[in-house]
């Protein structure tokens, strides 16, 4: 049984480490480059996990700290997109894994980081993932529309994830069940574990 679990974990980690984004380009044929930009991150599990983790981290720190990310995160994606075109994907597997590990550990440890640090981490992550999303675009892709779609989906995911986390956690004054805090910390542990596995695979390969 343990062996089965271990195989499953390795398969999942390999999937994360080597997930391609090529499938997203089918979208362009149907709905154009705006929607291709909006759906591109969903084809890469690294984006899905890192964006969600960032939203949960910001939400767990409270609305007053987290809300800055509504602007900072899409801005980072927009900055990263042209960098990806110039320098290629800045986001190597190891960098993604390190980010996952760091954010996961912060969540697991319920670290109360200041707003400026949260914004800096989120901006850095968004630049990195923006570059990764922009690196493999075809020459016929309308980059302005793609960037608009990417920024819109970044804004949407971060805003909704933060709000859901804020609602889920509740406030200390309303006597929310302590299990909710534990659940968020446990989720952080899982994210950190995924990051650790990814890093191991990248280093081993």
């Amino acid at each position: 049984m343990k062996l089965k679990f271990r195989r499953g974990w390795i398969a999942a980690a390999l999937l994360l480490a080597q997930g391609g984004a090529a499938e997203a380009h089918i979208v362009a044929a149907r709905l154009g480059d705006f929607y291709m930009g909006a759906l591109h991150p969903f084809t890469d599990l690294q984006d899905v996990i890192l964006w969600t983790a960032t939203g949960v981290l910001a939400g767990s720190l409270g609305a007053s700290r987290g809300r800055w990310l509504i602007l900072v995160f899409p801005l980072g994606l927009l900055v990263g997109l042209p960098l990806g075109r110039i320098f290629g994907a800045a986001s190597a597997g190891l960098a993604d894994a390190a980010m996952m590990l760091a954010i996961g550990l912060m969540l697991a440890a319920a670290t109360r980081i200041p707003t400026s640090a949260l914004c800096a981490i989120s901006f850095g992550l968004a630049v990195m993932r923006g570059a990764a999303n922009g690196a493999d675009l075809g020459p016929d892709t309308d980059r302005v529309l793609f960037a608009a779609g990417l920024a819109c989906v970044g804004y949407t995911i971060i805003t909704l994830t933060m709000a859901l986390t804020v609602v889920f956690r509740g406030t200390e004054s309303d006597g929310s069940a302590p299990w909710r805090t534990i659940a968020v910390r446990a989720l952080g542990g899982w994210i950190a574990a995924i990051g650790l596995m990814m890093a191991s695979i990248v280093l081993a390969s």
Partner: protein
């Protein structure tokens, strides 16, 4: 009007004139190819509506037993039965209607679109369940695509949400918009009313500008007509937008017997797309409230001006196209 206002107006007109090519993005790019059976299994094909990218650039694939070299297509004894597809549909070419006119029996129409790139030709006879399913799949997808690619329609809906807020008032307003555009879509599709596409598109842009002005009025504490009777405004402009939706169907030249069903499925697709958009906007409004992330007082008018500017940009661009066509 101050000099500054004249300057702004001049800039908008200048920007519009410089970039008219961007403004046709929402106009459907369609083609109609007709195959007329001249003897059993042998067809003569011709483009009755040539696609804007040129007929020669369409990569049409017919069933393997058919030999195609336009204008001739020979399918032998088996006849024209099987899958037809176009491999290079995309942003420049959204749909092609294939009309098959057999020697005996009713003509059939099949729409190949980016949403439904492969169609099955089922031979002659009464429509089968498969034919209905294919029709539904094609037109629901086409409706979803049309609303999602129609930034003007979505911007109008966004303006309505902005003015009305949430709750039952929004439900009534969106329902009125739906009834309005469904009624005019049906009327236009059945040929009861007809409005030229280009002036209509200019009117659609103006309807969004109207909503932008209404938002500003509301923010200044004046109750505009939209704030007082949102359902009436939504219904009225819904009629205009519905004719716009119909223009997407009109070019397909569907046969009359299939039109009611195609219309229903297309409308269902439009509603699915619209509902998804409304729910997304409401979810984001909810999230902003939970995060206490509201627009600062100095920036409250920005969204209204953004909506107004974009719509006027579209309006002038579309007006240029109206005059260019004369």
């Amino acid at each position: 009007m101050t000099a500054m206002r004249y300057l702004r107006l001049a800039l908008v007109v200048l920007a519009t004139l410089m970039q008219p090519s961007m403004l046709g993005a929402h106009e459907a790019s369609l083609g109609v190819l007709e195959f007329r059976e001249v003897r059993p299994g042998a067809f003569i094909g011709r483009w009755t509506m040539e696609p804007s990218i040129g007929a020669g650039r369409i990569d049409l694939r017919v069933p393997p037993h058919c030999f195609l070299r336009l204008p001739e297509m020979n399918c032998g004894q088996k006849g024209l039965v099987g899958s037809i597809t176009i491999t290079n549909l995309g942003a420049n070419m959204s749909a092609v209607l294939i009309k098959v006119i057999p020697i005996a029996g009713e003509p059939r129409s099949y729409t190949i679109s980016t949403a439904n790139p492969v169609v099955s030709v089922l031979g002659t006879g009464a429509p089968t369940l498969e034919a209905w399913i294919e029709l539904a799949k094609t037109y629901v997808n086409y409706g979803i695509d049309h609303i999602l690619l129609g930034a003007d329609h979505l911007l109008f809906v966004l303006g309505l949400i902005w003015i009305v807020g949430g709750g039952w008032r929004l439900v009534k307003t969106i329902t009125a918009f739906t009834i309005g555009h469904s009624a005019s879509l049906a009327a236009a599709a059945f040929g009861l009313i007809g409005v030229p596409e280009r002036p209509l598109n200019a009117c659609i842009a103006l309807s969004i500008a109207f909503v932008g002005v209404e938002i500003v009025k509301q923010q200044r504490g004046t109750m505009g007509i939209t704030a007082r009777y949102p359902w009436a405004v939504a219904f009225t402009f819904g009629l205009v937008h519905g004719i716009g939706f119909a223009s997407a169907l009109a070019g397909l030249g569907l046969e009359r017997s299939l039109l009611p069903a195609a219309l229903l499925f297309f409308n269902i697709g439009v509603e699915i797309g619209q509902l998804a958009f409304v729910l997304l906007v409401l979810a984001l409004i909810w999230a902003h409230r939970r995060l206490d992330a509201v627009v600062p007082r100095w920036g409250e008018a920005l969204p209204a001006y953004a909506i107004g500017s974009v719509s006027m940009f579209w309006f002038f661009g579309r007006l240029v196209r109206v005059f260019a066509a004369i």
